[in-house]
């Protein structure tokens, strides 16, 4: 039986007559004559170990749906895990816009051909700047840990100092990313990261320890608000003041969805803010919804000049329209290779458009109401859980949407509780027992506007059963 030619719907020139016509035009017998550029000794002679193709689209869809069907989603189970990737409601309009083929399939086209992409970016930067109370917002990149590390390096370049202080309550995962960026001690360009202790009663930064560690060699003091462990950093303004008093910069890490109700970094004097936009309209995508931003003051150009990420400015045209173009591009790795400021690359463009739409439809009132709902429901959940025998809430009573639940008094480890909760259709809070052993058998629970009172009641019921 003669083999059918391989004609693939994604490869128009796989039609044999077309291929032949092109070869004829080039005077070639086969593509092998082009591959003669690769010497025989470097050619792959074997066969790739890839299963037989699933050609028909329906068959491929069946196969893929079968695989993905093995997952259990946070729509099927009730999820109370956050820890840096949070389940908030994504308004349908956000998905509608970012699923537009023009946005999904665009890349680095220019200011004229891709005006809409550039304008959406500028609108994202502008709206986030409003939430943060900062005049300059750069084009986001990978995630919070990454931009924290980049902010530390940026502060080190601005101040010429090599030491950065961070709160011991910082997410260990974020810290690991930042440490990779700040290099091991053996490297001459290493930036030293040093933890500041926390008040064991509240989780807030220990100001005595801060003073002890804050010297004239400190490039920046980094604080998080809300902190990784959920509490609101009550000393934020004071920390900024003390950093400035020693000539250090103040970097505030922030979950921007809280800024309808919490004080923005710019209002307490932050020089640089960083954080993740995932909460602003991104599905979690198993963590793929994360995207880190950097924002900063614009009253001194050194911040923009040392910023490693792309910056876009608003311009006008000869016809009086708006245009948007990349500014001071020569300082990036695209402009200056190894002489540039860190590096940039393909990052998370589509997510910035999602966040732009999200901030637009939320508006000032939406952010305020959402913040209030998060606080109310999270505290309601904490209250319900604290009623269970042996369960207590740790750290500051002032938290936003996440809080630490200590199960030590129940005699059951968090890992076991979470496994048993799966049988009840619940993803429990993040197990903190390895990251913060001093907090006992604790878990970080997350409650947002996504969860109704009934969801919280069910969680309390499920935990009661599990702990019985």
């Amino acid at each position: 039986m003669a083999e059918r030619p391989f004609i693939h719907p994604y490869i128009p020139n796989s039609v044999p007559a077309t291929k032949q016509a092109m070869l004829d035009e080039l005077g070639l017998k086969s593509v092998e004559e082009i591959y003669a550029e690769i010497p025989e000794r470097l050619r792959f002679k074997g066969r790739l170990e890839i299963p037989a193709p699933i050609l028909a689209e329906r068959d491929l869809e069946r196969h893929m749906v079968g695989l993905l069907g093995k997952n259990t989603s946070c729509e099927e189970f009730l999820n109370f895990c956050g820890a840096g990737c949070w389940q908030h409601y994504v308004p349908a309009i956000v998905d509608e816009v970012i699923n537009r083929a023009e946005f999904v399939s665009a890349y680095c086209g220019g200011e004229y051909s891709d005006l809409g992409k550039y304008q959406a970016r500028f609108e994202f930067n502008s709206q986030l700047g409003e939430l943060l109370d900062l005049d300059a917002v750069a084009n986001p990149i990978y995630d919070w840990g990454d931009v924290a590390g980049r902010s530390f390096r940026m502060a080190s370049r601005i101040t010429g100092r090599k030491r950065v202080l961070y709160p011991r309550t910082m997410s260990p995962m974020r810290l690991a990313e930042a440490k990779t960026l700040c290099q091991p001690e053996v490297m001459p360009t290493h930036v030293r990261l040093e933890a500041v202790d926390y008040d064991p009663a509240t989780g807030c930064m220990d100001l005595v320890d801060l003073d002890r560690k804050l010297g004239d060699d400190v490039a920046a003091v980094y604080l998080e608000n809300p902190g990784y462990l959920g509490f609101i950093e009550a000393g934020a303004a004071e920390i900024v003041r003390r950093a400035h008093a020693r000539g250090a910069l103040a970097i505030v890490g922030v979950d921007p969805i809280a800024l309808g109700v919490l004080v923005p970094p710019g209002s307490i004097g932050a020089d640089i803010a960083c954080g993740d936009i995932q909460a602003l309209g991104m599905h979690m995508h198993a963590g793929g919804g994360c995207s880190g931003f950097i924002a900063f003051r614009d009253d001194d150009p050194v911040y923009a000049q040392e910023c490693p990420l792309e910056l876009y400015t608003l311009l006008e045209t000869e016809a009086g329209e708006y245009a948007v173009a990349e500014a001071i591009a020569e300082r990036t790795s695209y402009g200056a290779r190894d002489q540039g400021k860190d590096w940039v690359g393909t990052a998370s463009g589509l997510w910035t458009i999602a966040a732009a739409v999200y901030m637009t439809v939320m508006g000032p009132q939406g952010f305020k109401e959402l913040g209030e709902t998060c606080i109310a429901r999270a505290h309601f959940a904490a209250k319900r859980l604290a009623e269970l025998d042996g369960v207590r809430i740790r750290l500051s009573p002032a938290f936003f949407k996440e809080f630490v639940v200590d199960f030590a008094g129940t005699g059951t480890p968090v890992a076991e509780i979470n496994t048993k909760l799966l049988e009840k259709g619940v993803f429990g809070g993040k197990d903190l027992s390895a990251e913060f052993p001093e907090l006992g058998q604790s878990a970080l629970y997350c409650v947002t506007e996504y969860h109704s009172q009934a969801d919280i009641d069910y969680l309390a019921f499920a935990l009661k059963e599990v702990l019985a």
Binding site: V31, L68, S73, D114, E316, T360
Partner: protein
């Protein structure tokens, strides 16, 4: 001419006729970009309008908790509301749809222009799959047992990429190609740290035609970077590499084929030079389209390589991300990969965090695994023969386009005369510029009047004068290639006939020519946000 006039022609005749038409400029798109003159969203709406309503706390919740404001410490509440838009939902939707219309995404146009980016078709089935709740609404810290489908996809995709590269181990944690290249710099650093060879081995060698991230990311990792220039044939100068290596050499991070599309046939000799000096070799395979199933990084002696799943493996580019970098290494470097890795034990898949020699993390959680789901589906759809067909057609398309472009006045192709390029070519419009005054940036501006995305010129610095770099991957039909070449020919003809009309282009774009360009450099003029614009520019008018 009516359709019936061609009733008797064969399919081959039809192809030829359409191609002739296009090459004569008869079938170019007389494109008119949407022109909405849309205000900024910050200027729209009316105070009080709402775009979406959010859930409010239930009465029982409020009764039990009281006012949310009471839980915010003194001085930590927001004083003034953010000045965000207040706009109803339809008006917001309309605004962003208009912006989408003023974006010439690849699905609409021809992104042959965006060389080094491998702008290929991203199948719509993939988008449907990643948007479903079984993929989109997963929390990264969910118990492994509830993510077995995702982990199976990631594991299997990793196995396929291993066979495609010949490497032994993989991470899919990096959030883009440059991020994978950065991961390599960190892995190499850790390797030498473990051997006690830091900071002595602090030099990384790259080439000028390798992507800027091959120079920038080792710098971020703490290495001193040495950049090798091309020899007269366009290959990285082997003598310069030999002169650069020493006991300080940590390794090299290079591309092959480079941006010029020229395959370096002595690549294994370069690898040997670095290895003999005790260094490690990484090859940047962001653009692997022309070599799938044809040549493998490991077979040329490399210790590590990467792929961009958003280039070669079909994931869409999404206005520059989110993206996925696949980073692959030999057994020697495997212990240093970032955590967690996906492993398979029996029939179950796991996330392995217990890797004491790991560099730690380059990315939070797991990675952008939307891209992995798409790449997996794409590879399963094509199989081994299909991947090979992708490579062959990419290379054929490129040489076919090259044949058309080299016949156009003002276009030249520097280096390696007599050698064919693989997946892309870096051309020069230096002759056009000298003879007409029309340079590559002018041509770029004019192309979009024909509905074709402006072409990618070159990374900096411009070693090739007045450069442009098309990459006609397997997605494009012969007619697409003919059209693209016809646009370049048309603009070249215009340049020789009426240079001013090219230099004043684009003529039918969404906006007129930009002005006040000093804002791109001057602090008192640039405005990165609307509030900055109002303060610096608007209030002073």
């Amino acid at each position: 001419m009516s359709a019936s006039a061609h009733g008797s022609e064969t399919p081959k005749d039809k192809v030829g006729r359409l191609a002739r038409l296009r090459r004569e400029g008869g079938a170019l798109h007389d494109y008119r970009a949407p022109h909405w003159d849309e205000p900024l969203i910050m200027e729209m709406g009316t105070p009080g309008e709402r775009g979406v309503l959010v859930p409010l706390a239930e009465p029982d919740v409020t009764a039990a908790i009281g006012a949310a404001a009471d839980y915010i410490p003194e001085g930590m509440a927001r004083a003034a509301a953010p000045d965000l838009p207040e706009i109803s939902q339809h008006q917001a939707l309309r605004h962003y749809l208009r912006l989408s219309q003023m974006t010439l995404g690849m699905d609409l146009g021809s992104d042959i222009s965006e060389g080094t980016c491998t702008m290929k078709y991203s199948p719509k089935l993939h988008e449907e799959l990643i948007r479903g709740h079984k993929a989109a609404d997963l929390h990264p810290l969910q118990d492994e047992s509830t993510m077995q489908g995702l982990l199976e996809i990631v594991y299997a995709c990793g196995e396929y990429l291993k066979t495609i590269s010949g490497m032994d181990a993989i991470t899919l944690q990096p959030g883009g190609g440059s991020h994978a290249v950065y991961t390599n710099a960190c892995v190499m650093r850790e390797y030498f740290a473990a051997r006690g060879e830091l900071p002595q081995r602090n030099e990384m060698i790259t080439t000028i035609f390798s992507h800027p991230c091959d120079a920038a990311t080792p710098m971020v990792a703490g290495f001193k970077v040495i950049t090798v220039m091309p020899d007269e044939n366009g290959y990285p100068d082997l003598e310069a590499v030999k002169a650069a290596v020493s006991e300080k050499t940590a390794g090299c991070m290079i591309t092959n084929p480079e941006d010029t599309g020229i395959y370096n046939p002595r690549i294994d000799e370069y690898v040997k030079v670095i290895h003999d000096a005790g260094g490690l070799c990484f090859t940047d395979q962001a653009n692997a389209n022309g070599i799938l199933g044809v040549a493998r990084a490991r077979d040329a002696g490399f210790d590590a390589c990467h792929f961009n799943l958003h280039k070669t493996f079909s994931s869409p580019h999404g206005c520059e991300g989110p993206a996925t970098g696949a980073y692959l290494v030999s057994d020697t470097l495997a212990p240093y990969l970032p955590v967690p890795l996906v492993t398979k034990v029996g029939e179950n898949y796991h996330l392995d965090y217990d890797r004491p020699q790991s560099i730690g993390r380059v990315r939070g959680f797991l990675g952008n695994w939307m891209g992995v789901i798409r790449a997996y589906a794409w590879i399963r759809n094509l199989g081994a023969d299909g991947l090979r067909e992708v490579a062959e057609i990419s290379v054929l398309n490129n040489n076919y386009l090259d044949n058309l472009l080299m016949a156009i006045r003002g276009v030249s192709r520097p280096y390696a005369e007599g050698h064919r390029r693989l997946d892309q070519v870096r051309y020069s419009l230096e002759t056009l510029k000298q003879e007409t005054g029309v340079g590559t940036e002018d041509v770029r501006g004019r192309m979009i009047d024909f509905g074709i995305q402006s072409f990618w010129m070159s990374h900096h610095p411009w070693v090739v004068p007045e450069p442009f770099t098309p990459e006609p991957c397997e997605t494009y039909s012969k007619a697409d290639l003919d059209e693209w070449a016809a646009v370049i020919k048309k603009v070249s003809d215009e340049a020789y006939a009426d240079a001013a009309s090219v230099k004043s282009a684009p003529h039918s774009s969404s906006i007129a020519r930009m002005k006040r360009l000093e804002a791109l450099e001057q602090p008192d003029q640039w405005a990165f946000t609307w509030r900055a614009y109002q303060r610096k520019i608007k209030e002073k008018r």
